[in-house]
């Protein structure tokens, strides 16, 4: 059907009027893509392609020692992990670790951030630096140091507890304590989360605090009714990142693995590494990696879905 003259004019006008903006948008997009191209290249080369390769490996019996004797075995690796006691136990251990570490990290980081955001604290910048500094220590070195500090026999923590008449637990050697210990070690590197919380706290408009004060709200009420709702996007971000990194935790339990009974630190990634590199079953380990990816994806989607109920974006309401 031919366009009426009026429609044609409107169309031409629309095209004509949008040309300069489209050109600007394209140029802007081009520069944008140019700037992020190193990241995209890195993402493709070091993340997406290896992920695709892992997906292919997960359908094979790839043994690291026999790379030439690789066979396609369909979904057998995925069937196997459904009945693998080691996988089930490592997943449960990981969930237990997450239930301890995520709330602990969030509450501790928020508490420290709130403290270091208070104008009444002298030397805030110095304290922020001090709390952030542990991030710079390589995790392996930090874990080894903590292993000494928390040694049940000669560690400083138990010596300090002993000085006040308390017998400290065997933080690392006791399977009932070791996940708590890992979570406590994780607190040492709360700097990132703390900084993000500080940024969130500083974005809360001060007039809301003034209004709350005028209405007679106390400090706790102001914190729970004003501060927390307004930083829920930041809390959401920290929960998300904390969950993802907790699912992936590897270095600390791997470094501490000797001297821990009952596979108490056999978290999902440690088990995955063991299957891949200790038992050389790279095909099976690839299947485990994809399962972990799937679990994290589902948890993330659930978190995004739930965020509509508890995350407050001022611009949307």
């Amino acid at each position: 059907m031919a366009a009426t003259p009026g429609e044609a004019t409107l169309a031409r006008g629309a095209v004509g009027s949008s040309r300069p903006r489209w050109g600007f948008a394209r140029r802007e997009a081009m520069w944008g893509y140019l700037f992020i191209s190193p990241w995209i290249a890195g993402f493709l080369l070091f993340t997406l392609i290896p992920m695709a390769a892992a997906l292919v490996f997960s359908l094979t019996d790839f043994d690291l020692r026999k790379p030439d004797a690789i066979h396609f075995i369909g979904l057998r690796n995925y069937e196997r992990l459904l009945v693998d006691h080691g996988v089930q136990s490592s997943l449960l251990t990981t969930i237990r670790y997450i239930l301890i570490t995520v709330p602990l990290n969030l509450v501790f980081s928020l508490a420290v951030a709130t403290l270091l955001n208070s104008p009444q604290v002298a030397g805030r910048s110095a304290f922020r630096t001090l709390f952030y500094m542990p991030i710079q220590i390589p995790l392996v070195a930090a874990t080894l140091i903590w292993a000494g500090v928390l040694n049940g026999s000669s560690g400083w923590v138990n010596q300090a507890l002993g000085a006040v008449g308390i017998t400290g637990p065997d933080w690392i050697g006791d399977s009932g304590w070791v996940l708590v210990t890992l979570a406590l070690i994780g607190l040492w590197s709360c700097g990132n989360m703390m900084l993000i919380f500080i940024a969130g706290l500083q974005s809360v408009p001060s007039e809301l605090y003034d209004a709350a004060r005028v209405d007679g709200a106390g400090r706790w009420a102001t914190f729970t009714r004003v501060t927390v709702p307004l930083i829920t996007p930041v809390i959401f971000y920290n929960v998300l990142i904390s969950l993802v990194t907790s699912f992936q935790v590897f270095i600390q339990p791997y470094v501490l693995k000797n001297g821990i009974p009952d596979d108490a630190t056999n978290l999902f990634n440690v088990n995955l590494y063991r299957e891949a590199f200790s038992f050389n079953q790279m095909g099976y380990a690839s299947a485990l990696a994809w399962v972990l990816f799937g679990v994290i994806l589902v948890v993330t989607l659930v978190l995004f879905w739930s965020s509509r109920r508890w995350v407050y974006y001022a611009a949307e309401r």
């Binding site: 290896p50 590197s189 009952d262």
Partner: protein, 485 residues
């Protein structure tokens, strides 16, 4: 149009979410401090020589890569000698370049597996014990044709040991290099301080008028276990929560070693089923009680404490007796440059029902089947097998009998003014564990991991029923053996 735009926006948002998740899963978004590689994964020697095509160096020489870390060889004071051995070889060569790669033992197996998977394996591995040979036996080259064509002299080697590197491997994958009998290292200063006589140096000798058996050793070890208040473990005032000196230890071994100290055995029977060998539950119970009831053996936590750490208990000077192999001379005092010269010597292990067992280790080098230059690799192998510097530094009693006297002379020079009774080491060769505590098992890597998990439980958990734990281990091993059928 808006709907289309919304759809595109949703699709983009989903893509971004997936990308973020993928990157997060790759670890780069970790909140953790910068993920520097573990020190144990870093080669401690310079980067390997650059290669051109086909395993040749840029100037056309044949590159042979020597991979160290599967057994001994990665201790700091060994590395300098290994580098010198490589430099000497390269200086004598115009067609081969030898390149050295050293990894910490904790990750050396993982790294080698990865190199093999990446079609980038080294040419030579070692020194490595039987555990390594069972892990990579099917990746090793049969050396028989090269031994024959080169005229390599095997007449001075123990035929049984030569056979040990052939049986079950589908070829002669190794040539005996070093043997390591085991015995008790004892700290003379701690004995002198306690006013106790030294343990026997001859099998059959008595100790303080009593048979030198495990009961006698237990009593002796308790007297040598002391708390911070100076009370020994036989005293009613002894405080087991503040020990700073232990009477006995078995360093760097596992429950197969603990069991073998009493009686040699295998966890797999003739029909391929799992078993706990005769006497091993008793041996494990004794070791366990030594840690948790009588306190003369350090627990896992105590072993990692400042008093004994890091991971070299006898060297701390706080362990009186340590049952280890000859290779421990690598790491016993004095390390090069260490100021004090503590006084230690070696003694025979106690007997069990009149039978003495001194478990035996053996190390050698292997050539990977995937090497592009087997002839050159065999030439390097011969050089390494005959190198006296390596023998001395590894604390390795040469498998070549004619070199054994010179080996002990070198050790004497190293440990002077300590006068160590090396005859004990030679005598212990007559009491090997047959079958070996390092013998092959079905599903070897997983079975080995299960035994180590059993060990971790025992050294960290008080109040266990050892007989029940042993049965659990047997059932676990049976599952693993069945999995491999």
């Amino acid at each position: 149009m808006n709907r289309t735009f919304d759809g595109a926006r949703r699709a983009s948002a989903l893509l971004v979410l997936l990308s973020i998740l993928a990157v997060a899963c790759s670890g780069s978004a970790s909140q953790s401090p910068s993920a520097e590689p573990s020190p144990s994964t870093v080669a401690v020697t310079p980067a390997p020589v650059e290669t051109g095509e086909g395993g040749l160096t840029a100037d056309g020489k044949v590159l042979i890569r020597w991979y160290v870390g599967l057994g001994t060889g990665a201790q700091p004071d060994q590395i300098a000698d290994e580098q010198k051995v490589v430099a000497d070889f390269n200086a004598s060569q115009d067609k081969i370049v030898l390149s050295l790669e050293i990894y910490q033992n904790t990750t050396a197996y993982d790294i080698l597996s990865t190199q093999i998977a990446a079609s980038n394996p080294p040419d030579i591995i070692g020194p490595v014990g039987f555990r390594g040979f069972y892990s990579y036996g099917d990746q090793l080259l049969d050396l028989a044709p090269y031994i024959e064509s080169s005229g390599f002299d095997v007449s001075d080697l123990d035929p049984a040991l030569l056979e040990a590197y052939k049986e079950g491997f589908g070829g002669q994958v190794g040539i005996p290099f070093a043997i390591y009998p085991s015995f008790i290292y004892y700290n003379k200063d701690l004995f002198d301080e306690a006013g106790l006589a030294y343990p026997p140096h001859k099998v059959g000798e008595k100790y303080d008028g009593k048979d030198w058996n495990w009961d006698t050793l237990t009593e002796l070890a308790k007297k040598l276990t002391v708390d911070t208040g100076g009370n020994d473990a036989t005293s009613s005032a002894f405080d087991s929560s503040s020990i700073d000196q232990w009477g006995y230890y078995m360093q760097w071994t596992d429950p197969r070693g603990w069991g073998t100290q009493r009686k040699a055995g295998q966890v797999v029977d003739a029909s391929g089923n799992a078993q706990i060998p005769d006497g091993w539950v008793d041996a494990w119970q004794w070791y366990y009680d030594g840690m948790w009831k009588d306190h003369f053996i350090p627990t896992g936590t105590e072993n990692r404490s400042d008093a004994l750490g890091p991971d070299n208990a006898f060297q701390s000077g706080n362990v009186a007796m340590d049952f280890v192999h000859l290779w421990y001379t690598c790491c016993a005092w004095p390390a090069d440059g260490a100021p004090p010269t503590p006084h230690w010597d070696i003694a025979v292990p106690p007997s069990n029902d009149g039978t003495t067992t001194a478990k035996l280790h053996a190390d050698t080098f292997g050539v990977m089947k995937a090497t592009k230059h087997p002839d050159e690799a065999f030439e390097v192998l011969q050089y390494l097998l005959g190198n006296d510097t390596l023998i001395a530094r590894y604390g390795a009693l040469p498998a070549v009998k004619s070199k054994q006297a010179a080996f002990f002379d070198a050790l004497d020079a190293r440990f002077a003014p300590n006068d160590i009774d090396w005859q004990v080491a030679l005598d212990m060769l007559a009491y090997p564990d047959v079958p070996s505590h390092e013998a092959d098992m079905p599903n070897f890597l997983k079975a080995d991991a299960a035994i180590k998990a059993f060990q971790e439980k025992l050294i960290t958990t008080p109040g266990l029923d050892i007989a029940a734990e042993a049965e659990t281990l047997r059932a676990t091993l049976q599952d693993l053996f069945d999995e491999a059928r």
